[in-house]
Each structure stands twice: as structure tokens, then as C-alpha cells.
Symmetry: C2
Subunit: 446 residues, 2 copies
């Protein structure tokens, strides 16, 4: 079994709490909600992602014999408690915003309703899955909005934080509107279109640069993209002119060049001139190297670049590599609950978000309320699991990507820009405020 | 097979280059080296980590039948090339700095010597493994130096970037000197000591806070740590006084309290006074919430806190979530190679690092030279794989951690602090400079 599915992908305190619940016979129904507490600086909206992996994890939840035997021997737990874990499966409900939904702080994007031991155990992995893909989808969407119509390829596997981060950031960025990824396994797993050309090492392994170009062109006659910055970018571009004639005689055309160092805009302008002067107007220019949405915006405005490889800064969400998010108990045994720790208070109970739209379908306002308080607008949270099983087959990633594109198109204009915009209005309903007051008054902390 | 071991955990361009090499019959021996180009701001040294996972990956390298069949059908490759991958295994050598070695920019921490197809294919995953663990070990070491003698626990699974990031950051932080982790699977896999108590939800699921405390104490009579900030931190501390008396009658003592919100230093001072005034001097105080090395330094100096849970900011290396690092071709077919792209030039050939020490064994200077240039000092790069197999059984993580502690103890004083210090001296030997000049003169870019 892959570690990604292990029930031990959890914090020790989940299991210590479970032993205490076991001892007390506590296992009533709990409702936990996952939400982001605060909009990060330099973000105007968030894009929900990671639900599919969360559902898969819940559907497969169980302890293996090896894990149980290790738990019994690790010195932290009693045998009778470990035995109680043997048959543990996820038997509850999940309600969630579909992946690709635009959302804002305090709005739950996932609710688990299940016996508290099940709902508690899965906290660590659910946060781990939802925060990361949401983080990356939200970051990647900014590049998509900053470079409309451009080819955008995820290049970030190597500096992503491990294998799963590489794979899931390929998924999250494609979902947000990237054209594809360089990560081969992500292509195999989710059908994400793959892009890739050559590294500098390919040029260096040849003694003569233009021989490397020709070898590559003959290996990929339909899809020849050449990396031209290993030694001297403009000199390499000039070498393509005779090479293009030679290849044309064999029916091969150079599709694009890639520039990966120096002043990308300046090199692109010079290379464009060299290629155009030789009639190679169809050869596209692709750029990479330390790109993010700000650099994309600048290059789109100033340089003849047709596509971009975006890696590290997107895949690590480098300007803000985490979300201030939580998975909090909002109800136990039929009673709404609320945490009141300083700076970390939560809205109690099961909640729903209604989205209201203005002219042309643009989002105008959200209402956060209790889940039994029907209001006007589109309810964003839908039930997706029942009795531990998903209620519909998984969507394919292309469908989710289409939905995300519709969501992004409905963003109010100021939120689409890269600069911080006034916060989108999320109103907390009278009913929810009343419930919070009621819960505060009834908490017996004595 | 877990995705962490897949040969398709690579960038598409590795495979396109392999097809071009296949077509040309190119497969001579290549030497690639992994190194960090530039010291991140706010770091004075780096701590090598991730070699064990890199070696595991290389030992297991192969394509599954399912992967080969997908490659043949994905539209990017020819069948004859895909067939050539069937028997591909890693047959080369690896030379590396042991995990836990302190190192600096331009110093290779790993060299692969193998037929170029093998050495090229593994680039993406080797960078992915080495950069992430090195990033986290280097960040975590700063907390270790800032809080000497304190209990430091990795709390970061939930906001790490996926499952593997959670596991490997537990490993990297323990290697760097953390006391343990909350991540259960990391405990099972590497024997990392586990720590954990309870979440706010445990308190909230009970109607009366002190009942939650008592239930937990009875479930963990040997290891009772109580979370006291759910409603009112000092009020909760006061409730422990009668509870401690009641539990003492049953031979149970409260081991520690945890504070997770508000002004941690101020709460800790007040709680310490409340506990001490009641004779509960042995109850320790543990703090968590948005901690990093700067906050630790401040709290260690000003508050009676015995231990810390450090999560998100360490596990994502939040102030710098990536390293400017590369895996570069330095030699092919017996000839040294060098990339000269602007801002990304490399030192050619196979290299060695000699470390010189001063009084009391403190590191004083490193010399970067060619690997056949024997010099005074300790050579840091050792051979670890031969003909595709490791040359010695894996070290256990505790041994690596002990070695890292010795390395950190030998750091010159200014590098041990949190503020940027003058760069540690790394001298490039005359011989290596001569080699670079020779390579530049002999590159035929025409």
C-alpha cells in the first residue's frame, strides 16, 4: 500500500484522543468543517481543490495488520484500544464545494459528518490534501489570469516538496487552467497534456551545439522545440536558419525555441527579429526560468513570447507556501460547538454558502448561514458521500477544469488582477450570529 | 507500486532526450552533480539530507509493464524506443556527502556516474528528493540552534505539501536535531519518537472542559498533556489544581500543559505562576502556534516554556520554500563539460570538497577542487553506490542525527546565529579554475 493511503498518515494526538473516546465510550456523530481562516496577502480569491483525493482517502480508510501490530507495540496505546481500530472504516457523510469553485475565508469547502472517532482520525490527512491543492490551484489561477491565451506548462516537479506535491501540483495547476505539465506520471494518472523538450545537458553532451539541435529535430520531427541558451542565445538562434533549410528538405520544421536564462524579454525580442528576418515567422518562442504571475504579466506586455514554463514559484506557492486553514468541530451529539481561542474563534454548526450573482453572472455577494436556513442564491456546498461511499462517479479532470474556467470568468474584475483588491463581500447571516451567541451562552467551561 | 518509486516520476524532456540518444546510439558515461547555486537569504549554512531516499530510488529504478504500455500509446514516443526502456536499470556509481553534513553553495552533495540515459532519466526525482529534505533539514537546524536543550516536536504534517512532504519533513527535522514528530507513519517507518496530546475538538466534544481533562488523564496516566487554551487559558490552568489533587489520589500526575493561541510568552508566564503557586512545579509547559526559529529565540529568552511544537513554517520552509539548486552534466564520454548560460554557469568535471578545521575542530575553510586533486583536509564526498548497488547497509536515522549534531557543533560561531553572517570561505582551487578555462576554450559552439 502506498503511504498516501495509510491510516497512520495522521498526528499522534488523533490516536490518543481516539483512545480516550474509546475509554469513555464516546462516539456520537460529529460535524467537522474545513475552511480557510484568512485570505493570504497577495490573493484575492481561493480556488477549491483536492476533494477527489480526500474522497479516495476516506473510501479506502482502514488499518493494515502490520500497522495495528506496530501500534500495539509502540508503547503509546493499550491493546484493547488498538483492537478496536481493526474494523474502523469511514461510514459517514461528506458535503463539499465542487473542485474548481471560487471561495473565500470562513466558507467551509468540506464538511465531514461521522462518528467522532472516524471524523477525528482523518483530520490530518484531509487538511494535508485540501490545503495543498487549494493553495496551488489558487496560485496557478493568478498566472492563468495574467497570461490569457498563452501556453502555460507546469515545470515544477523537481522543486516541489516530494513526489506527491509534484503530482498534485500538476493536477491543481491544470485544474486552474494551465495548458499542461512536464510531469509524466501526472499525464498517465489524470490525462494531463504533457510538454517537454530538452535540457542543457543534451546540448553539452554533444560537442557541437547545432548537431544536438539536428539530432533532436530528427528524433521529434513533429514536435521539435530547441533549447537555445546553453552558450549564446542569439548565436544559437542564428544557427537555426541554415538548419531549418536543411530540415525542411526532409519535411521537418522547427516548432519552437526555448529560452531559459538571462533577460527573457530582451532575448525573446532579439530572437524573434532573427527568426522573422529569415522568414521563420512560424517558429514560436517559449520561455522559462523563475517565472511567476508578476513576471508573466510583464513579459506578456512586453515581449513576443508564445508560451511559458512555470515551475518552482507556482508549485511551492513561493510567496505564501501555506494557507491559514483548519478542520474544526462544529457540532457533536446534535449540539453546535465553537472554539473561542484568541484569534482562532470559529462559526458554530453545519453551514451553507449562498452565492448571489449580478449582471452577466458576475459574483456579487456570498451569504454564510446555517445549513437549514434556505436563502436566495446558489448553494455551493453539496453532499458527495453517504454511508462512507461516494454518491456519483468521479468527474474527470477536464470537466473540473472547465467548471473552474467558468468560475474564474465570473469573478468581479478587481479580484482578477494581481494587486490586492477590496475583499469580496461575505455576509454572516443573522441566524448564524444568533447561533454563535447561543453557543457562547451555553458553554459550561466551569 | 507507490508513485514515489515510479520511473515516470520524471519530466517529459528526460524521455524525449532519451529517445534522441537512443536514435543516435549515444550512451557514454556521464557525470552529473547536484549542488546548490546560491545560499538563500536568512541561511548561513545548509545541511545535506535525502541521500537515503535517492539511493533507494536508484536501486529500484525500472519501468513497469503498465508504464511501458502507456508510454507506447501516449503519442510522444516510438515503439522501438519504448522497448529499449524495458530492461533499463541504474547500473552506475554514486558519490555523495553523508546525510547530516554541513555544506555550502557550489559544493556538490551528490554525483551520479552512469551511462547518460540512466543518469539523465533520474534527474527530476533526484532533485525532488535532495532539495526538499536538504531545505527542511537546513531550516529545522536553525530552530535546534535557537532553542538548545528544549523539546522540539515536528507538528507540520497537515500543512506540508502532501503525504511525502509530511513524512520526509519529519525525517529531515529529526535528522537536524528535533526531538521527535507528531506524524505517526514517520514513527513507524524510521523509529522517530512520537509526541502528541489532544486537539481543541476533544475539549469541545465534552460539555465541561475539566471533564475532558480528567478523561484524557485517565486514558494516559503516564503521559498526560492537557490543552488549556480552548476557552480561557488561565482559567483552565486554575482548574488543574483541584484536578491534580484528585488524580494524585489515583497515582496519576499531569505531565504538561499545552498553549496554542494568543501571546504564548505572556500566557506561559501567567500559567507558570498559577501552577507554581499551587505546588505544581513539575507540570511542564509546551507551546505551539505559528512558531519558527525567530519566535523560538524570543520565547526561550523570555518565557518559562519547556517544549515547542513547530509546524507549518518549518515544514514548508516558509521564508524560503525552495533552494536554487541544480543537477548538471559535468562530464560526458571522458570530457569535462560546462554550462555557461547567464547567471547559471557551473564548474566542470568531477569534484571533491576538502574541509579544513581550526582549533577545537571548528570548520575554518573548504576547498572545492577536481576529484583527482588530493589536498589537505577531510574529503567530504564518498562513494556510496557501485554498479547500481549501495556499498554499505543504510545507516539508521539516529546515527545520521548524531553525525549531524557533531557537524552543527563544529560550525563557526557567527554561522550558528539567526542573523545573516559573512559567507563561510569556500575556495575554488587553481586546478579547477584551470579546468574551467580549458573547457571554455575547447567548446565548439559553432
Amino acid at each position: 500500500m502506498s503511504s498516501a493511503e495509510s491510516a497512520l498518515l495522521t498526528d499522534l494526538y488523533q490516536l490518543t484522543m481516539l483512545q480516550a473516546y474509546h475509554d469513555q465510550g464516546m462516539n456520537d456523530i460529529a460535524a467537522f468543517e474545513f475552511f480557510v481562516r484568512k485570505m493570504p496577502e497577495n490573493r484575492n480569491f481561493l480556488l477549491a481543490a483536492g476533494l477527489e483525493q480526500a474522497v479516495e482517502f476516506l473510501e479506502n480508510l482502514h488499518f493494515t495488520a502490520e500497522e495495528l501490530s506496530w501500534l500495539a507495540s509502540c508503547g503509546h496505546f493499550r491493546r484493547d484500544f488498538v483492537d478496536s481500530l481493526e474494523g474502523l472504516r469511514f461510514t459517514g457523510e461528506v458535503h463539499a464545494m465542487p473542485e474548481g469553485t471560487v471561495f473565500f475565508p470562513d466558507e467551509p469547502i468540506l464538511r465531514v459528518i461521522a462518528p467522532i472517532r472516524e471524523a477525528q482520525l482523518v483530520e490530518s490527512r484531509l487538511i494535508n490534501l485540501l490545503q495543498f491543492q487549494t493553495l496551488i490551484a489558487s496560485k496557478a489561477a493568478r498566472s492563468v489570469l495574467a497570461a490569457p491565451g498563452k501556453l502555460l506548462v507546469d515545470f515544477g516537479l523537481r522543486r516541489a516538496h516530494g513526489a506527491e506535491a509534484g503530482l498534485l501540483s500538476a493536477r491543481a495547476s491544470y485544474l486552474a487552467g494551465f495548458t499542461g505539465s512536464a510531469t509524466v506520471l501526472a499525464g498517465m494518472r489524470w490525462g494531463i497534456p504533457l510538454y517537454g523538450t530538452m535540457a542543457h545537458s543534451f546540448i553539452q553532451a554533444h560537442s557541437i551545439e547545432v548537431e544536438a539541435f539536428e539530432h533532436f529535430a530528427r528524433a521529434f520531427p513533429q514536435n521539435c522545440v530547441l533549447l537555445i541558451d546553453t552558450y549564446d542565445t542569439e548565436a544559437a538562434a542564428a544557427k537555426l536558419i541554415p538548419l531549418a533549410r536543411k530540415l525542411a528538405a526532409d519535411g521537418i520544421s522547427i516548432r519552437a525555441v526555448r529560452i531559459d536564462s538571462g533577460d527573457l524579454g530582451e532575448h525573446a525580442r532579439r530572437v524573434r527579429r532573427i527568426l522573422d528576418d529569415a522568414g521563420l515567422n512560424d517558429v514560436e518562442i517559449f520561455a522559462s526560468s523563475s517565472l511567476d504571475e508578476y513576471k508573466l504579466r510583464e513579459l506578456v506586455a512586453s515581449a513576443p513570447i508564445d508560451g511559458f514554463g512555470v515551475g518552482t514559484r507556482m508549485n511551492t506557492s513561493a510567496d505564501k507556501p501555506y494557507l491559514d486553514c483548519a478542520y474544526k468541530l462544529q457540532e457533536y451529539a446534535g449540539r453546535p460547538r465553537r472554539k473561542r481561542s484568541e484569534g482562532k474563534a470559529t462559526w458554530p454548526g453545519r453551514k451553507q454558502v449562498y452565492r448571489r450573482c449580478g449582471a452577466a453572472g458576475t459574483f456579487s455577494e456570498d451569504l454564510l448561514t446555517t445549513d437549514d436556513d434556505v436563502q436566495s442564491g446558489v448553494p455551493l456546498i453539496l453532499q458527495v458521500m453517504k454511508e462512507g461511499r461516494r454518491m456519483a462517479p468521479p468527474l474527470n479532470l477536464a470537466e473540473i477544469r472547465d467548471y473552474a474556467a467558468v468560475q474564474l470568468a465570473a469573478l468581479p474584475e478587481p479580484l482578477r488582477g494581481l494587486e490586492p483588491a477590496p475583499a469580496y463581500p461575505v455576509t454572516v447571516s443573522y441566524r448564524l450570529r444568533e447561533l454563535a451567541r447561543f453557543v457562547d451562552a451555553s458553554i459550561e467551561v466551569g
